[in-house]
Every structure is written in C-alpha cells, then in structure tokens.
Symmetry: C2
Subunit: 489 residues, 2 copies
C-alpha cells in the first residue's frame, strides 16, 4: 500500500480518511455506517480510556454495566428525550431465525411483544434501575459510569466522527440537591477539559450549549469544543444537568434529611471514540498522523541500519541495553528488526503512524557513539550521544507533548476572531472558518436563521473570558456576551 | 436489607442468587434475561479483565473492535455455525420510531433491506473483515482479541451464569498452518487455566469437548472445566481450533512462502462474565461471598470502634498511617468511617461482601498496641501487634489466596470418582454429583442416551492424567481413556 496521502490543501476530508485508514486506526466495515477499530487505533483508544477511567475514579465514580436493549415504552417516558432519539433507533423485533426454502429467515413466530431499542444512550434504562436503588438521602450521591457501545442510526457517516455504532463512556449520577448536581456537571466538563489538554494536547473551550444544541432531556448541556485544522469546530465532550426530568419520568423519589419526599436530581456526561477523530485532526500533517507522546502506543521506534549480519549483531546488543533503560523509565519502545522491510520503508511507515520519536542506529553511529534522533512533530533530525540518551528522550517526550499543545493553541488563537458585522461574519466563515466570537440576541429563531444562511451554529456560550455586552450580529437586539459560532462536524 | 442469606443446604440455587444480589454483584433488569452488573461486581470483573488482558498482550495479542451488528447473510455462510446460533438470535429489522395516535411506534417505512443480527459471537463479521487484511504469509499470524457484549436469546436465565446479554472477550486468530493454529488454541486454554488457578484460586481440568459439546463451526473445542460446591460442573472457558472452516466460508486465502495459495487456519477463544458465577460458587459460604485477595476490590477493610469523639480522632490518626503503609505495599484498603452505621452492621456487611481481611481498632487496641484481625475465609479472629502489621497483612493475603485454592482442590479431589458400573454412576449423580471418571465408547449416541437418562454430559476428554483403557460404562464397547461426566450449569 502506498504511504503517500493526499495533502490537507488538496482535499481535507480525503486527507483525514486516508490517515485513519493508512495509519491503521480504523477501517470501513461491511455493516452500513459501522467501523472496525484496528489494533493500532484501539491501542490509542485504550490509553484514552485508562486515563479517563483513572480520573473518574479519582473523582469518586465507580463503573457498572446496564443492558444494551431498552424496552420501547421506557424510551418514550421522557418526552423530549424520545423526540431527540426516535429517528435514529435500531429496533429489535424478533429473537429467532429459522430455515426455509429461501434459506435462513426471521422466524415470524418469535416476534417480541414489545420491541427493544438498542441503546443510543442509557438514561432511561438507568433511571428505571435507580428507582430500585434510591430510597433515602443516605443512598445519594450515586456516582456511576459505564463503558459501552451505543447505536444511533446515521445516514451520513465518517470514520470516528459519526458512525452508527460507536464506543463511549456515559456517567449517570443521582443527587439530593440541584446545586450538587450542577457542581457534578461542571466537575465532569472540567475533567474532560483537563484530559483533552493534558493527554491529547488539544486546547478546548468550555461553555454551555444554546437551547437548540442541548441534549434531548437536559436542562443545561455543558461542553468542551475544539477547533480542527480546517477551521471547523468539533464537540469533544458533553456534560448534562438533567434537573429532575428523568426522576419524574421514572418516579425516582428519596426521603431527604428533613424526612420529606422529593425527586432526585440527575446528571449525565460522555465522551466517545469521536475523540480519536479530534486527535487525528488536531495534530496531523501531510505526512500522516502526529501523536502526542502520552497517547502514543509506541513513543519511540528504533530502526537498525546495517549491511552485514555482524553489524546487525552489534546494533542488537546496543539496542537491547537501550530498550531496558527506556522501559525502566516507562518509555514505550518498539524495536523494528523485521528483515523483509528496508529502513526507508520503515521510516515512511512510522512517519505515517505518527510515532513521536524515531531512532536510527547504524555502524557509523556505533563508531561515533551517537544515535540519529528524528522528531516526528517538527520533522527534525539530529545526532545525539548515546551516553545519556535515555534522559534526553524522556525530556524530549515531555517537550513534544507541550509543543503540540502550544502549536494547537497558537492556531486556535489565530483562528478565533471577534466579529461585529454579519457581512464580515459570512465572509470569514466562507473563506477560512474558525471560532467567531459574535453577539447573539439569545433566541432560537436568530440562531436557526444564521444556521440556514451560513451553516454555522452556536458551539457554546463560553464560561471563561470577558463578558462584554453588545448587539446581536443578526437582529441588532441587545446581547449580554459574545458566543462562539462555527461550522461544526 | 437483611444480611442473612439462605444456606447452601437449604436451597443452593437460592443461596447463589442471594449472594449475587445482596453482596451487590448484580441485579435483575427490566429487560427479560438481561442483568445489571452493579459497581461492586463490576469492580471484580474489571480486575479479571485487567489480569486477562495483560496475559493476552504478553502472548502477543492486540485488542481491536468489530461491529455489534452482523448482516444475516454473513451469519448463514458457515453451515454448522448458523445451525448452532440461529435459534437464539436477536434480530434488528427497523431503524426508526415515529409518533402515532397510539404513541411511539416502529416506523414501517424504515425497514432494513437485510436484517441485522446482534452478535452472539463474532467469527463471521471478523472473518469477513480478515479477508481484506490477509494476502500473504507476511500478514500472518494475526492475533486479535476483542472485549465486547454479546446477545444470545435465552429462555431460562440465571445471573452471571446464563444471561441474554453478557460481557466477554473473544480472541480471533489467523495462521499459516494447522499446527500453528492448534498450538495457539492450546496456548489460550493454558492461559485461561493459569488465570483461573492463580487469580481465581479455582482449580480447573483441561480437556477436549466431545462432538456433541463442540462449538458450532469448530474442528475441536478445548476447555477448562471447574467443579462447583453442589457437585455440578461449570464450563469456564473455551478455545476453538476452527480449521479452515471460516476461511472457506469467507474465502480468506493467502500466498504461502512457496508462493502457493491456501486457505487460512483459524482459532477463537473466550471467557465471559460467567466467570463471576464460577467465582461465587467456588469459594462462598453460608455467610456470603468469599473473595480471593487478588480479585477483591477491597483486600482489607478497617472498622473503627469508639464511643467518644476523642477516641475516634486517635483511631483516625493510627489508621491514616496504616492506610499509607498498606497503599505503599499495593494493598487495597478501605477505611469505613461512616458514623450512621454500627460496627456490627459493618461487620455483617463486609462478611457478606467477602472482604478477605477485616481489621477492627478500638481504644483498648490503642492501649495495647494491637489490632483485631479477622480472616473471612476461615472466620478466624486474632489480635496482632500493630507494629509490623503491614508485612503481616501482606503475607496473610498470599496465604488466603493459596488456602482458598487448596480448599477448592481438596473438594474437587474428594468429588472426582472413578466409576465402572452404570448403576453406581447413576447413584452418585443422584446423591452428590461431582466429576465422574468413566469409560465411554466415543459415540454421540451413547453420550446422548446417558444425558437423557441421567442429565450428565461429557464435560471433557481430559488432557492430563493417566490414559487407561477400559470398557464403556454404558455400551461395554472398548474405550481408550476415561472421560469426565457431570451434570453441568
């Protein structure tokens, strides 16, 4: 398979697809809209999972598991929830196949009395379960997370970014007071932001969604939004304050400290394999994937360069020692000894796969006591003394992690623009995209009109930064603060 | 909720259910045959997952993820496979709901052209994918595992042991030769056996299934079988040599080193949340769950005993120091300070939940410099000097892990009986069960008759132990070796 990929300028969308497929992150499947996550992609996802899971546990959450299948009647109990998800539900109607003259067919005698929905999200089945678990304030808070697959029937899909089945985590918490639930909602948005910035080297803006973009069934949706290299926004995580909506729909009450009965307050929050798409589009370049060291399955790859077997043996000895030193320092290292591939082939392969650091060692390096160190993010090569290389690499990994973040935030800063007139607004969206900070009158009507005319939506009402009053860019009506508009994935 | 549970003698089946529910491992769900895995149960499953996953990676496997939904036509390509699973398939037929005067209903205009099956196992979708990944011997072996949920429509379900949806891992490997695939099949059976014995303290017998009990689509099924306290066997893990059956069904060929085209050789292997049921039934007693320390979410629980707040403060100081020491040694410790529960309540709670060691510290202990150490498995109490307690606890955890294994293997040895006449065979099965080592003529006919008459099946043809010839217990025909009969879950 050719290593060369289309450049971002030629075709951004194709560039993305080629990286995902050629770097071995994911593949199309035979099932419409569903993807296969390949081993290299899954290894990155596993690292994301581990880091997030540790953060959830540090904030007091436990994992559990709830059924994949949800009775249709549960699903309908919260009106705006079913409204939001009904059009994309996979429905199980039968539970048996049988032989027939036409081959294997559905057995019509095995029809379910009530259809089951494959979970698109689990609020309904979970709140139906919580009803049995919560009686008094002593049972609260209930802080539970689930790692699971979900299905939302999508007509237009893209690997990682929008697939019919995807993997995610969904936290579902229950609280005695609105205040405590709101604090939890914000805590988890902050947790997502910390993960994105620290582990993914991806800067995010924290904010609240407008009514149009809110989760179906939520009182408020908090989110983190990131900016991709083509100037489009990507919603990277959401945390919902659900009020008492699901407690009321499933009749979940508790006795508070004063002995009075009240409905329970809820939150839910999730991130998904969509983060893999965000990771690819934040850092990668025209040579392929670029990975932040903290998430890279291999942080360092070592390629031996030799003609004679004797040289090979000597390199092996040096590398064996290096590998042990690296591993002792927690550096994830791969030694690619395969003798049926040339060094050039390997260089191209690991370039495409975004391995942060590549070391090449040949006979001359052994003579001089040096190693060739190649840094993927800057495509910069240098020779470094092999003495002290472990400490050098360890520092370099930290440096790369930081450098990727700095580069991404510099790009975002340059692409975040205050706009005060609608013509300029449309013009920027047309030409380069980005986050547009503009005043909005707070109505869904205005938001919808702007969307119709420009395809841009309100990504969020940002929580941080100055709160400057002004006039709506569309209607001229008063506005309390600027919001962020962008075209979005 | 009352802590007391029914005893094994009163009602073994009820005893099992009560432990699972009252210890907080799992709960029934509103969806027929599906369970909710509760946080305490899930924490044990997570420890199992982590240990197994590490073992899979050490043996060269990578994780990946394949679609939940399988087109019906794929499913039908391997004849004996569809035969084995067709009767328990959940079928997705539609992809949208809609509003109607009767409420939310399935939208009949959104009917799938081809029905999708929720995976009961993934051989078909995976081999359809492997076709695109394998061209030459250089692409082999392909060593992939997936952690996933699967659905098999069950009419009679039991928490963990048999549920419509369950969690598992399924390994799917592809090889250039039959020999290599068989070695992989055996390696993974051995891996499962090592996990069961080392982590679960559960002795297992390794063997091969008879044709009747073989996986649908396999050439040979290898397994590990364990014996529960009621004398019934539990199949705890299976590893299948699939020959070229799935490669032929999905036309997966490769060019071998000689440049000739051949079908690829396959294996698949899996363990599931069923292991949770095995764990409960192997060690627990009439007071509740008993957990091996290596899988216990909390290895040690500390309960403070005091009347006055001043005493409480002093105990807190001692415990804070202890906790740090324990954690530094990798001991998982919980300090239960809750002041709205009595020490007696807590003792009963952790007894039921199977925490391996309970420490109680009161004012008198502080005076004497001792701690009360209670060992869950033997229900034995002693006073131990607080000085050096960390090393003491660390050793005790190792001792408990071993002691549980020794007890389980002693039970199995006592329940494994050589039988040479059919009357005794029936009698033992009726009265106490166990593993019956008996001669069998090798025919499915005999096996089926014995099953009809006694409900016992051949659990496996054991791989280890003496291979003594004899005569079939049922037909009197010659037999090459004894096989293991038992009633099974």
């Amino acid at each position: 398979m050719s290593k060369a990929i289309v450049s971002r300028e030629q075709d951004y969308s194709q560039w993305y697809n080629e990286i995902v497929i050629k770097a071995g992150l994911a593949d199309y499947s035979a099932v419409k809209g569903c993807m296969v996550i390949k081993p290299y992609g899954y290894a990155i996802w596993e690292r994301m999972q581990r880091a997030l899971d540790d953060m959830f546990k540090e904030t007091g959450h436990s994992n559990a598991y709830f059924p994949l299948l949800i009775p249709k009647s549960f699903f309908s109990k919260e009106a705006s929830h079913v409204e939001g998800f009904a059009k994309e539900c996979a429905v199980v109607t039968h539970y048996r196949l049988k032989n027939s003259p036409e081959g294997i067919v559905v057995d019509e005698t095995a029809k379910l009395e009530e259809e089951l929905i494959i979970r698109p999200t689990s609020e309904t089945i979970i709140w139906n379960t919580y009803k049995g678990w919560i009686q008094s304030y002593r049972d609260l808070p209930l802080l539970i997370n689930q790692w699971a697959n979900v299905v939302r029937w999508e007509m237009r899909t893209r690997l990682f970014l929008r697939t019919t089945e995807f993997l995610w985590q969904e936290g579902h918490t229950a609280h005695a007071t609105a205040q405590e639930a709101i604090e939890e909602t914000i805590r988890m948005m902050d947790t997502y932001a910390e993960f994105a910035e620290k582990w993914m080297s991806m800067p995010v803006i924290k904010g609240i969604k407008s009514a149009n973009e809110r989760f179906a069934g939520a009182v408020d949706t908090y989110c983190i939004e990131s900016l991709m290299q083509d100037g489009k926004a990507l919603q990277s995580g959401t945390s919902h304050f659900l009020g008492q909506n699901f407690a009321k729909a499933f009749d979940v009450k508790f006795l508070n400290k004063e002995g009075k009965s009240d409905f329970v307050w809820a939150t839910s929050w999730g991130v998904s394999t969509r983060l893999m798409g965000a990771l690819v589009m934040t850092h990668s370049d025209d040579e392929g994937l670029v990975l932040p060291p903290m998430l890279a399955p291999h942080q360092v790859v070592i390629v031996p360069i030799y003609r004679e077997e004797e040289q090979h043996q000597k390199i092996n000895e040096v590398v064996a020692k290096l590998k042990n030193e690296f591993k002792a320092e927690g550096i994830r290292v791969l030694y690619d000894e395969a003798d049926n591939r040339s060094p050039g082939w390997k260089f191209a392969e690991y370039e495409l796969k975004g391995v942060p650091i590549r070391l090449a060692i040949g006979p001359k390096d052994l003579e001089k006591g040096t190693v060739e160190v190649y840094r993927r993010d800057l495509k910069k090569k240098e020779f470094v003394p092999i003495d002290g290389i472990t400490a050098y690499i360890k520092n370099l990994l930290v440096e790369i992690q930081k450098s990727l973040y700095d580069k991404a935030i510099a790009f975002r800063t340059a692409s975040t623009i205050k706009v005060d007139d609608y013509t300029t607004f449309k013009d920027i969206l047309e030409k380069k995209g980005g986050f547009l900070l503009a005043h909005w009158d707070g109505t869904s009507e205005t938001e919808e009109k702007i969307k119709e005319e420009t395809k841009a939506t309100i990504r969020c009402i940002p929580l941080e930064g100055e709160k400057e009053e002004g006039k709506c860019i569309y209607s001229g009506k008063p506005s309390a603060q600027r919001v962020i508009f962008a075209k979005a994935y």
